[in-house]
Amino acid sequence: MRIRRSHPNHPGTGRRSLLCLGGGLLLAAAWPVRALVAASGPVVLTVGGRVRMPNQGDAAHFDMTMLAALPQTSFSTRTPWYAQPRRFTGPLLRDVLVAAGAQGDVIRLTALNDYRVDMPYQDAQRHDVIVARLLDDKPMAVRDKGPLFVIYPFDSRPELRGAVYYSRSAWQLRKIDVL
């Protein structure tokens, strides 16, 4: 499986240079470095819980544009839900969490149909889990398990091909709580 990453506006680079510039000024708050802009379109994902960069109350709200602005990762993988390998594209889950300044032990995923599942915070660090927003380069409708689909790179490691990881791959994702 090939994982391809693209950086539409290199936000990481910018963030790092800013860190260098403002290192002395922001001694007390080395993190976060950039405030999350408010969502301008319809909110598709809410990150709640231990979030240090909320943009709406206690939570960080994302619209599709904000997610598309994060570095994108693409890969094709076999899944239990489709007969053929499909190609998924979206930001890494850990980038989304960084953007929201979210850090904790457990990530609780909630879907539109109130399906709920917990994954260890480390999963987002250890594996290239993405919040897929494109299926075969096309946006996903709700009836196509969209608009957001948490996908593990199942084909990269054999141990990912199990019921536990399948159950953590929540589709119709609407909310992430970091506990």
């Binding site: 239990p80 149909n113 009836r143 196509d144 398990k145 199990g162 119709q172």
Partner: protein, 762 residues
């Protein structure tokens, strides 16, 4: 003992086969069981994989969620159809979308094997699809009709009618999965049970295998112990057998020795009997008796040789040998035998054969005598040929090869195979005709092998035989006059000694007297062993020089008698043997009899001085105060057949020229007398007399350097017992013929210059 073991070992064979087939069977079953276990485990793995892959319970969850979403959509739909609340299009759309996604999942998931009632369930899904088709008109991606309360109300009954079938679907899947889980559980249990059974069986088999292996090891150990025991027994038995064989050989050697002494007495008596005025008939009987005695003596000599070879007591006295002289000696001894028959005897040495070689001349001659006399014995006409040549041996070393070819009766292969075994002769009728001990060839072969060679035979019946004797060829380094090698101090003893010399030959007496005088000692003489014992009883002597061959009582007998004397001072007097034969056996015999040292003739002043020094220690100065020149190289150094110049030189070291001349003259003057005595012994068929006289002559001749006379006397001494009378007569003639030649040679060496030349033909 061994055979019993063998029988038991043989009896074990069928048992072994049975055990091996059991072992093979067990192994086979073991392999089968292992295969079965592998199969069961593979099936279990497959089952497990099915569980993981299909995720049947997961599918049940999907069906269940689809039903839930169906109910939530129905509620939302009913609310939308209610006039009393405003129409929430977004929520309705979301609920609808989620439900559609669930239905899509059910359609796409591989549910066929979970459907309890495939037809009914397909119908339910079709019903749902029909609803979706109608609802999508307003709720789809591209709405065709507006979403209003009328549309919602119109579709509500169709949505509600889906509730019951969806529930059925959920229940059916749940039941079906339960059944499948149950079935799978049963299968797994069965597999487990089967696996357990196989494992138990495997354990039993492994135990059986281990048991058999242990038993096998135990039996092997047992058998090894038995074998070790057997080996120990065999070793012991072998040692006993060897000891017995050694004892037999020693016994044989001793016996033949012991027999020879009285036998000589017997022969002496026979010869005395002849002088008592017998009738012709009695003379005839006596001749037969003498012939038998001769034969018996030859037999005894052979047996003695053989037993000594067997007990390894024979050591080779290897020395440089003049091959031509050796062949001449052989020819001299063999020609008379050949001439007795109409037989030609050719002795021929190839051009490449070296003049001199290192060998034990006596033993080489013994082998050649044996081969040639056999050939002459079994050939009635034609020729007997001895060829000598050199060749490369099998091991790459140079070999000298003596081939004796005859035109005699020949042998078949069976006879040839038997030939070298003791007491076997060509065939029994021939042995009766030709006589002999049957030990000759075995002795020859053993001697040849001792020399690093062998004796072999090629023959065909009626076509003669060809015996080949080969040995390692060793050529002595060319003799260069050695630059005065420092001699181990050849110094006389510190004080003049009183020396008793027991020696029967007058010339030898003179010679010894001269030697002892030269060393500053006092010599006293007795004529035989008996006299020596008596002389020793009368007065004290410091040392006795004892000739071995003497009349009345020989040297060994006299030594035994002296050692048995009651007076300790007399019985411990040092005794030194003097003898003309240098065999290790003779030496051993002397030392065993109680002699202290052993000197071979010719006795040089160095040898004598060294021996006395060993016994009495050395002094500080020699009487004449002149260092003695080194002992000249012994007899083989000069190839002159008549006089050995080196021996003469050696004698001249011990005495003045005049004295030696007197001795030589005395010896040569006595020669006609000696010849007469020899002739008388031949005429009277008295081999003992012949031997005694010949031996005495040989010793004196050796001491005085008259090598040709010594060699002839030796041939007479050796051949006395077994050579035919006419040949002995020839040897005596030869001895007589050599006397003037020797006299001439001595004159030529200036030994006899003081003498007026006597008539050459004496």
């Amino acid at each position: 003992m061994a055979t019993a073991e063998d029988r038991r070992a043989l009896a074990r064979h069928p048992q072994d086969r049975l055990r091996y087939s059991w072992l093979a069977l067990t192994g086979f079953v073991l392999v089968l069981v292992l295969l079965a276990v592998a199969l069961v485990q593979a099936r279990q793995a497959t089952l497990l994989r099915q569980v993981v892959q299909a995720g049947d319970d997961y599918v049940v969850l999907m069906v269940y969620q689809a039903e839930t979403e169906q109910l939530r959509l129905r509620d939302q739909w009913q609310r939308a159809a209610d006039d009393r609340v405003p129409l929430d299009a977004d929520t309705l759309r979301l609920r609808y979308e989620i439900w559609v996604s669930r239905i899509e999942l059910l359609r796409s998931a591989d549910l066929q094997h979970l459907l309890s009632n495939p037809d009914g369930d397909q119908r339910t899904l079709q019903q749902a699809m029909d609803f979706i088709q109608r609802a999508d008109l307003a709720l789809g991606r591209i709405p065709e009709v507006p979403l209003d309360r009328g549309f919602v109300s119109a579709l509500l009954p169709q949505l509600e009618s889906l509730t019951a079938p969806m529930h059925e679907l959920s229940l059916g899947a749940s039941h079906k999965v339960s059944e499948q889980l149950e079935a799978r559980g049963i299968a797994v249990r069965q597999q487990n049970r089967l696996g357990l059974g196989l494992t138990a069986f495997l354990s039993v088999l492994t135990l059986a295998f281990a048991f058999i292996a242990l038993r096998q090891v135990a039996q092997l150990r047992e058998r090894r112990l038995v074998l070790e025991e057997l080996a120990t027994k065999l070793r012991l038995a072998q040692r006993e057998a060897e000891a017995a064989s050694d004892a037999k050989s020693a016994f044989l050697a001793n016996m033949s020795h012991e027999i020879r002494t009285p036998f000589h007495g017997l022969m002496g008596m026979l010869s005395l009997l002849r002088e008592t005025g017998l009738t012709p008939r009695q003379v005839d009987y006596l001749r037969t008796a003498t012939e038998s005695a001769d034969h018996l003596l030859a037999l005894l000599n052979d047996i003695l040789d053989m037993s000594q070879l067997e007990s390894g007591r024979v050591t080779l006295a290897v020395a440089p040998v003049d091959l031509r002289a050796l062949l001449r000696d052989v020819e001299a001894l063999m020609r008379p035998q050949a001439n007795a028959k109409p037989l030609a005897l050719h002795i021929d040495a190839a051009p490449g054969v070296p003049e001199r070689l290192l060998a034990d001349a006596t033993r080489v001659k013994q082998i050649l005598f044996n081969l040639l006399s056999n050939a002459i014995k079994f050939t009635d006409h034609g020729a007997v040929v001895l060829d000598v040549r050199t060749r490369e041996g099998e091991d790459g070393q140079a070999c000298i090869e003596f081939t004796v070819t005859d035109t005699g009766v020949g042998m078949d292969e069976a006879t040839q195979e038997q030939l070298f075994n003791r007491f076997v002769q060509g065939d029994s009728t021939r042995s009766r005709r030709h006589g002999g001990t049957g030990l000759g060839l075995e002795i020859s072969r053993n001697l040849a092998r001792l020399m690093g060679g062998d004796v072999s035979v090629r023959s065909r019946p009626g076509e003669g035989s060809c015996f080949t004797f080969h040995m390692h060829l060793q050529v002595p380094p060319p003799t260069v006059s050695e630059p005065a090698a420092p001699l181990p101090a050849v110094l006389p003893t510190s004080r003049p000694l009183q020396v008793l010399v027991a020696e029967d030959h007058p010339v030898n007496r003179q010679y010894m007297a001269a030697l002892l005088e030269n060393l500053g000692h006092q010599a006293h003489f007795t004529g035989n062993g008996q006299e020596a014992v008596e002389a020793l009883c009368r007065r004290r002597y410091d040392v006795v020089l004892m000739d071995l061959h003497m009349p009345v009582l020989d040297g060994v007998g006299a030594t035994r008698a002296i050692r048995a004397l009651p007076d300790a001072a007399r019985s411990t007097v040092p005794i030194v043997a003097l003898t003309a034969d240098a065999f290790a056996e003779t030496r051993d015999r002397c030392l065993v009899a109680g002699m202290n040292d052993f000197l071979t003739k010719p006795v040089s002043v160095q040898k004598l001085a060294a021996s006395l020094r060993r016994l009495f220690g050395s002094g500080t100065a020699t009487p004449n105060d002149t260092p003695l020149p080194p002992e000249p190289s012994p007899a083989w150094a000069g190839s002159h057949p008549v006089v050995d110049e080196s021996a003469v030189a050696m004698a001249l070291q011990a005495m003045s020229r005049e004295r030696l001349a007197a001795m030589v003259k005395a010896f040569l003057d006595q020669a006609p007398e000696t010849v007469q005595r020899l002739r008388a012994a031949v005429r009277d068929a008295q081999p003992l007399d012949l031997r005694t006289n010949a031996h005495a002559a040989k010793g004196a001749a050796l001491n005085l350097g008259m090598s040709a006379l010594a060699a002839t006397a030796e041939a007479l001494h050796e051949g006395a017992a077994h050579l035919p009378a006419h040949e002995i007569a020839r040897l005596v003639q030869r001895y007589e013929d050599l006397v003037p030649a020797t006299r001439q040679a001595m004159s030529a060496l200036d030994v006899l210059r003081a003498e007026p030349q006597p008539a050459v033909t004496e």
